[in-house]
Structure formats: C-alpha cells, structure tokens
Amino acid sequence: MVRKLMKYDFLSYLRSLIPMDIVLLAIAVITRLIQLTEDDSTSYRILLWSSVTALVIACVVASVMTVVLCAARFHRNLFAAEGYLSLTLPVTHGQHVLAKTLSSVLVSAVTSISILVALVIASLGDVLTEVVRAGAYLIRFGSQRFGGGRFALWGVEGLLLAITAAAAVYLMLYFCLTVGQTAKKNRILAAVGVLFGLYLLTQILGTVGIVISVTNPEIPERILEWLEDMRYDSVTFVLSSMIVIEVILGTVYGLLIRTIMRKKLNVE
C-alpha cells in the first residue's frame, strides 16, 4: 500500500517538479552560454553576474519550493477535499504518513540532484575541472590521512544523516500541520504557531545546555577529553549519534501524527 500511495504522490509532485527543474536547468545553460562569449566589456560582466545571481536564486527557490510543495501536498491530500478520498482508502494512517515522508525525502533528493546538475552545467570548463580536482584531492587526502575504510564510512554516515534529517524535518512539518488541523479555525495559522513553538522549545533547550556548560565547565571538558581519546572514531560516534537522534525525533513525530489522526482528527 505504501508503494501505491507513493506512486500517486510522485505523479502529483512531477507536475510541479518538472517545470521547476526545466527552468533551473535553462538558467544554468544560459549562464554557461554567456560564459562562452567572454570578453572584457562591462555589459558582459553585468550579464554574467545577472545570470549567476538568477541561478543562485533559482537554486534557493527550488529548495524552498520543494519543502513547501511537500507540506502542501500532505495538507491538501489528507486534510482538504482530497482527504475524502485518501482517508477512505483501505490504508492505515501510519501508511499514509510513511508514504508521504518517503516521497518527500525522494523528491528532495531529486531537487538536490537537479541543483547539482545545474551547477555542473553552469560551471562546465575550467571551473568544473578545478572543482573536480579539489574534490579528488580531498578524497585522496582523507583516505590517506584517516584510512580509506573509515573515510568511506564517514561518507555513508553523512548520507544517512542527510536522509534521516530530511525525514525528521518533514515529519516535524507534518506534525505541525496535523496539530494545527485540530484547531477549530485558522488551522494553517495554528500550524505555524506550533512550528514557532517547537523552534522556541529548541532555543530554550539550547540555552539551558549552554548555561549548564558555563556553570559546570568540567562537563564540556570531560566530553572533549573523551572525544579526543577516541581520536578519529569520535567523528563516527558524533555522526552515528546524530543519526540516532534524527531517527528518534522522526519516530516520535510520526507516532504523534498517527495517534492524532486516529483519535482526534475530524475531516470537516
């Protein structure tokens, strides 16, 4: 069922993603074509910087739009008119949430790849050659300095962290929308309020952490010593811990969404 739900989520996303990616790639191609007409004139510089600025803006817009699109799809498909169909399919609430989360992570990956391809197109030639050389040097250096196996493990952990963090962020947004939906009116505003509340909570927790560290300096010192003792394994430890935290956060959000949808939610 999750696979089937994802299929229809993707069909919906593609309608917006394909035009967005086409615009992004078109701007990248234009930027590259302008570079090919290189000369010392002011008009060339203005044109080049305008196209580069447009490309940067397009990349930012594509990233933001993807997140907005995924949040909007969750709301429209479950809590608006489409919810009459989605929520009467023989599918559990948990399957709906899982499908939406996986689709959103995959859509974000597609957008990331599109941005990467756009940047590669825009920087074809000398710039790209230099970037590839720098990347290859870093990989070589990292493998020699830290060991090939360990360096590859960090890469895998980094990728896993990106995936779990993206899933946790989407689940947090879905949680806000779901809680907002339980309000009697101004539900989107209520969802924004919940998001702000969560942000405030993380700021308070962060401040409390800093206060504890400042008033008890032996605690951060001990942690730093412990990490130093682990040497390179400390990177693996930190990355793994972050993955675990993201998984726990995502699971908590997911379970809360499922519970609210099962027990509280009214599609009116």
Binding site: L11, T88, P90, N266, V267
Partner: protein
C-alpha cells in the same frame, strides 16, 4: 437479513453545537435507505462517522461488527457531497487508482459506464463539466462491489436529466446483497427507489420506517410526510 450497520448512542459535537445526539440506528443488507432531513440536521455528520472521517464524542458505530477503520473501508463505498477526486488526474489514472486500492472495484464496469457517457479515459478530470465530474465520481463509487454504499447528496445541484442518470446508475449497479444509504432532501426524485427512510432532525432520528409502511400508515407519500414533519 443480517445487521450491516449499528449505531448506538452516537453523539458528535462541534463546540457548543450538538450535530448528532445519541443516535441509535440499525441497517440491514439488501435495502436502499433514504437518509432524509433538512440542511444541518446531521446527515453528513452521520455519514462521516460511518466513514471514519469524524470521531464520535460518545457512542459507537459498528459495520459488520467492526469499528470504522481500514477493514470497514474495504466494505463501504462512499460518495462525499464535495468533489473529492484529484482534478489533475486523467479518468484512466483515477480508475487505475481505484483498481489498485479497492479489491472489489470492477474497472470493466466503470469503463463501460464512462463509454456510455462519452467520457474518454484520457480526459483530465479538471476538463470535465460539473455534471460529468459528479457522474464520474458516482461511477467510481458504484463500480465497487461493496457491502454498503453511502451516498451523500448524490443528486443535489444537478439538472433533472443528470438526476435521472444518477438514480438509474445507483439502482442498476449496486450489489443486491448490499445496502445503499442515500442522504438527500430532494425526496420526490428518489422516493420511488427507496425501501426504507430515516428522518433526521436536530441530530436525532425521528422516524425509521419502510416506505410501504409510511404510505399505509400515514396515507401519504414520503415527500408529503417530510413536508409535514419538517414544516417551518
């Protein structure tokens, strides 16, 4: 006949407003039942509770002994009172979607009814007229081989010819072992197909009787009785 739907003390409140107030209701299979009441009487609330779109504040709904959920959604075919299909989809995509999700869906029947209406499978739903959209929605619901069809205002806001088409589609395509619960306030159009009627007023069921008994007991048609009961 066996019990298909049982509501016991079913209550639903929206803030201070009590939409359903301790409703007790039992429906058996093999009948077409009219859920009749004026606007705001609680018809849609009852239907949404049956379809697990609302959670009751008190009481219970049982469909074949099960509370509304994933298993009951396999048995109940629901037509909401608002357009519920993804308008960006083509007719073929939405038929495929129903085929994939509902084991009891009969795509060949759906395509045949669509062909009779001259609606091609490649047409986008948003390109269809309001009447045709409503017909597609009904065709999808009636193409299921469900145990209970729940149709919320299926004939509201359509022209008389479309109304006839909708009524004919309902009576010609529902599973005879199943029951059909039709909510409406356009009684005269639908009276001839009903076996039983339920009158609902201010969230309470005021009458649940067969159409034949109403005619015999009150000497009136359902429409006439409705006008008398719900007169302002």
């Amino acid at each position: 006949m066996s019990v298909l739907l049982q509501c016991t003390g079913l209550t639903k409140r929206y803030g201070d407003l009590t939409a359903l107030d301790g409703v007790d209701l039992t429906l058996e299979n093999g009948k077409i039942i009219g859920l009749l009441g004026p606007n705001g009487s609680g018809k849609t609330t009852l239907i949404k509770l049956i379809n697990d779109l609302l959670k009751p504040d008190e009481g219970s709904v049982l469909i074949r002994g099960m509370t509304p959920g994933t298993e009951t959604k396999k048995l109940v075919a629901y037509l909401p009172d608002t357009p519920f299909l993804n308008s960006w989809m083509t007719v073929k995509q939405i038929v495929t979607m129903f085929t994939e999700f509902y084991e009891d869906f009969r795509p060949e029947l759906a395509y045949e009814m669509l062909r009779q209406l001259g609606i091609g499978p490649e047409r986008k739903l948003k390109a269809l007229s309001k009447g045709n959209k409503e017909k597609v929605c009904l065709i999808l619901v009636m193409s299921r081989n469900a145990l209970l069809y729940v149709l919320d205002e299926p004939i509201a806001g359509v022209d008389p010819a479309t109304r006839d088409y909708i009524i004919n589609t309902i009576i010609n395509n529902y599973n005879p072992e199943a029951s059909v619960l039709i909510s409406t306030h356009l009684i005269s159009d639908i009276e001839q197909v009903l076996d039983d009627v339920i009158f609902i007023q201010n969230g309470r069921i005021t009458l649940h009787q067969s159409v034949d008994d109403i005619r015999e007991e009150h000497g009136k048609s359902v429409d006439e009785l409705f006008r008398e009961v719900f007169r302002w």
